[in-house]
């Protein structure tokens, strides 16, 4: 291990428009070591690896590879250096075979023709290495499971002579057995002298696989430690930083029966045995890391992917939502997480967006939309939610993310649902709007609505919840009251053994 480190970057900064994604990142990775990179969402991990893999270029900072100063200006340049990246989303071509995917962009050729037998032979070796059957070489990638596709991405990264392998949350979508196989591959590669950067949210697994850990927070690397000096709790503390936890919210939950209840809810392969009850006037949070199954739970309650086991109850009666529309008819108001795709009519005015889905309430004789009432309701909502807009006739596409989000939220408030399920209510929203949305959620609860908030934003989960369930490995594993500490919750979500309750 003498000589220069495989990779040494320092002072890396990157700005996207007004957002400083990376302020100052330093990273030194030695050949033959597994170097974990951790940090909360938005800490800058993704931006850093995009820069290392040539997908983005840094605004400032220096990069040295094996002691030589280099500029990584493109993905091709990165590949030429031997930097191979396995992205969180498998970057594969569904209609091409596994062998073709592995060699796309660096085909083995003979006289201008792709040398299929040579590629096939090499891929067979790689498949063997990562534990997939050799016959997969000529199978179209689109027919494989997501986990298998992930493994193919790793094979793809290994096809070149990788000297630095970056793995961006490779374990998030793998099962335990598949993770064992992955770790085996990672160890073998490290032993052969490859430097490995391993990004993961599952802090517990770092103790099995990583040698050193670098923690990122707010666009900066705050330090690097040998894994032996750390614990899950310690890493969680470093990730969260010296943030003072907010005091418990002033909010009293009235006694009463559960209005929304998930009893042993499960969906084959995604989540299982989820038990959550929300009373009227209560805000219950459901927090989990990416891949924990928390997003899928919300989708099931919405009826997008109906659950395969367990039951769902609204006001004591069992319901089986088959679609978002059906869920709404059953009395479950929804705020989907992907607003651009699922929640908004971008080019339509605010009033249209608010009245959509409530047209029965706002129509004359159930046939014609009552334009005057539509406008009145829209104006009332704009005022109540402090939406910043000159007029209710403004199209939603002209508004900021936070204001657009309020409009979608307003649609749910028109008919005062008894049960409201919100998925990532403040994703992509600025801080000021976030506060207002949190206030609206609290007001709704005070008016008697049972609110379930599904979020991967840790401070938000703690701040708005009367009770907070943590989801890990597809099931609810811990429950916290108001005013839980961020470190405790993060440690529970990331798999600390000692779970605080």
């Amino acid at each position: 291990m003498a000589g220069a480190p495989r990779l040494a970057v320092s002072g890396i900064a990157k700005r996207f428009g007004a957002v400083r994604a990376l302020r100052n990142a330093d990273l030194v990775v030695d050949a033959g070591s597994v170097h974990a990179l951790v940090g909360e969402n938005g800490a800058g991990k993704s931006t850093l690896i995009k820069i290392l893999s040539g997908a983005e270029t840094a605004d400032a900072g220096t990069t040295a590879f094996d002691g030589q100063e280099v500029t990584i200006g493109s993905t091709t340049a990165a590949m030429a250096l031997g930097v191979a990246t396995v992205y969180q989303e498998p970057q594969l071509f569904a209609d091409l075979t596994v062998a073709e995917n592995v060699f796309t962009g660096r085909e083995i050729t003979r006289a201008g023709r792709v040398d299929w037998p040579a590629q096939n032979a090499r891929v067979t070796e790689l498949l063997d290495l990562i534990g997939l059957p050799a016959r997969y070489a000529t199978v179209a990638v689109g027919t494989l499971s997501i986990a298998e596709q992930q493994q193919v991405s790793i094979a793809k990264a290994l096809a070149g002579d990788a000297r630095l392998l970056i793995l961006d949350e490779p374990s998030a979508i793998l099962t335990d057995t598949e993770i064992e196989v992955l770790f085996g591959v990672v160890r073998r590669l490290a032993a052969s002298g490859v430097a490995i950067v391993y990004i993961s949210h599952r802090l517990d697994e770092l103790f099995t696989i990583a040698d050193v850990v670098t923690v990122m927070r707010d666009g900066e690397t705050i330090g690097t430690w040998p894994i032996a000096e750390l614990s899950v709790r310690r890493i969680a503390e470093l990730m969260v930083g010296g943030v003072l936890d907010d005091g418990p919210r002033e909010h009293r939950v009235p006694d009463g029966p559960a209005r929304l209840e998930l009893r042993g809810l499960g969906l084959e392969g995604r989540f299982h045995d989820v038990d959550v009850a929300v009373r009227g006037g209560e805000v219950v949070g459901l927090y989990g890391l990416v891949g924990s199954g928390v997003a899928e739970i919300a989708a099931s309650v919405y009826g997008i992917t109906p659950a395969t086991s367990g039951t769902l109850h609204v006001d004591g009666a069992e319901v089986r939502p088959r679609s978002p529309r059906h869920a709404k008819a059953l009395g479950i108001g929804l705020l989907p997480s992907d607003r651009k795709q699922q929640g908004m009519f971008s080019f339509q005015p605010i009033s249209f967006n608010i009245s959509a889905g409530n047209l029965r309430l706002l129509s004359k004789a159930r046939v014609f939309v009552d334009r005057r009432r539509e406008r009145e309701v829209a104006r009332r909502m704009i005022e109540r939610l402090s939406v910043k807009t000159p007029s209710e006739r403004q199209p939603v596409s002209a508004m900021s993310g936070g204001n657009a989000q309020k409009v979608v939220l307003a649609r749910q408030l028109v008919d005062r649902p008894g049960v409201l399920v919100l998925a990532e209510p403040t994703q992509g929203v600025d801080v000021g709007a976030k506060d207002e949305i949190h206030r609206i959620i609290a007001e709704l609860a005070d008016a008697g609505t049972a609110v379930l908030v599904v979020t991967s934003d840790l401070p938000e989960a703690i701040r708005i919840s009367d009770r907070l369930h943590v989801v890990r490995d597809g099931t609810t594993t811990a429950e916290f009251g108001p005013g839980a500490s961020q470190v405790d919750v993060l440690a529970a979500a990331a798999g600390a053994v000692e779970v605080a309750t």
Partner: protein
């Protein structure tokens, strides 16, 4: 999920290193065409004769030839609805040149290819660098090219076109030993395209781009250059097709030439199994698709049925083909998560 590691996987069978070159859809197409031909041969005795089959093969050549370029374009996830207008512009330029200065056949073909490639370059550059959806751009250029073509036409039709291009026509000059020359040209171009798309890195990259353009860029493929190339080749083949169209026509050329051709071409490509969402398609499928479309047209005429019926049948085939494609995509586990 497969069992990991331990059991060492059996070595792959040598030889079979690519999926079988003929897809299920192509086999179905072959069967449908065979059934149609058999049915037509029984009902209209005139069908199964050289006097009927040869014109059918000649008539399908412009559609199939442009279809080869269109296959490449659609595989990358694009589309070119301006090909009818490109044929029109090329045809009028060639016709005027032949009437005016009596250029020989090679010059006429070269002129068509040059004009077609230039118009394809306009399409490709706007789409690859302007990042606007292909259907919008080419819908715009459809009208632009048509306008330009009408300007070249002037007000009248082009009259008195010499027989320079007769070797590509329907007449005796257009065949050797009964085989139409234009059909031979089609087969040669198809064979080259098939080999290029299936066996060279450059060809495979078209499929990668259609599968996931971002992933293709990350894999080091020059996505824009590939996309431009697809449109240029389509324009170039439309230029060759324009020569065939002139050769198949009379000595006069009307401004309506090429009008609506894009729909037949896209129909042939889609019926041939090329996925309209990109990433999958084949030259063989397109040839069969063009043959099916032309068989329906010829058959309906020979049976003496109203010609609108051929539109009905082609429409049904398109919907069945697209439906089959969608079903296939829904059956597979989703490759992308939504988060």
């Amino acid at each position: 999920m497969s069992a990991p590691a331990l059991a060492r996987p059996a070595p792959a069978k040598p030889g079979r290193v690519l999926p079988f070159p003929v897809t299920g859809q192509e086999v179905v197409l072959l069967v449908v065409i065979a059934v149609l031909w058999a049915a037509l041969a029984v009902t209209t005795p005139a069908f199964a004769t050289e006097g009927s089959i040869v014109p059918l093969l000649v008539a399908m050549t412009p559609i199939a030839l442009i279809g080869i370029g269109m296959t490449v374009v659609i595989v990358t996830g694009g589309i070119d609805v301006s090909v009818g207008s490109i044929v029109m512009v090329c045809a009028v330029v060639i016709a005027k040149a032949m009437v005016g200065s009596g250029i020989p056949l090679p010059a006429a073909v070269a002129l068509g290819m040059a004009v077609g490639a230039l118009l394809g370059l306009v399409n490709g550059a706007l789409i690859a660098y302007g990042r606007v959806q292909a259907i919008i751009i080419t819908f715009g250029t459809l009208n632009l090219f048509r306008f330009a073509g009408l300007q070249v036409f002037g007000s009248a039709t082009v009259e008195g076109i010499p027989g320079t291009l007769a070797p590509f026509g329907r007449g005796d000059a257009g065949r050797t030993l009964g085989v139409p020359h234009s059909f031979v040209v089609l087969l040669v171009v198809a064979a080259i395209a098939w080999y290029y798309l299936r066996h060279t890195p450059g060809g495979r990259h078209f499929f990668a781009i259609g599968g996931d353009a971002d992933a293709a860029r990350l894999a080091g493929i020059s996505v824009r250059a590939r996309i431009v190339l697809g449109y240029v080749v389509t324009g170039l083949l439309a230029g060759v097709a324009a020569c065939f169209v002139i050769a198949q026509g009379t000595s006069s050329l009307a401004a309506s030439v090429g009008s609506g051709l894009e729909l037949s071409v896209i129909a042939a490509v889609v019926i041939g199994g090329t996925s309209i969402t990109g990433g999958r398609g084949s030259v063989l499928g397109t040839l069969l698709g063009a043959l099916l479309v032309q068989t329906v047209r010829t058959g309906v005429t020979q049976l003496g049925w109203p010609s609108q019926l051929s539109d009905l049948f082609v429409g049904v085939f398109i919907i069945v083909a697209v439906g089959a494609d969608l079903l296939r995509q829904r059956r597979r586990p989703t490759g992308k998560r939504t988060t």
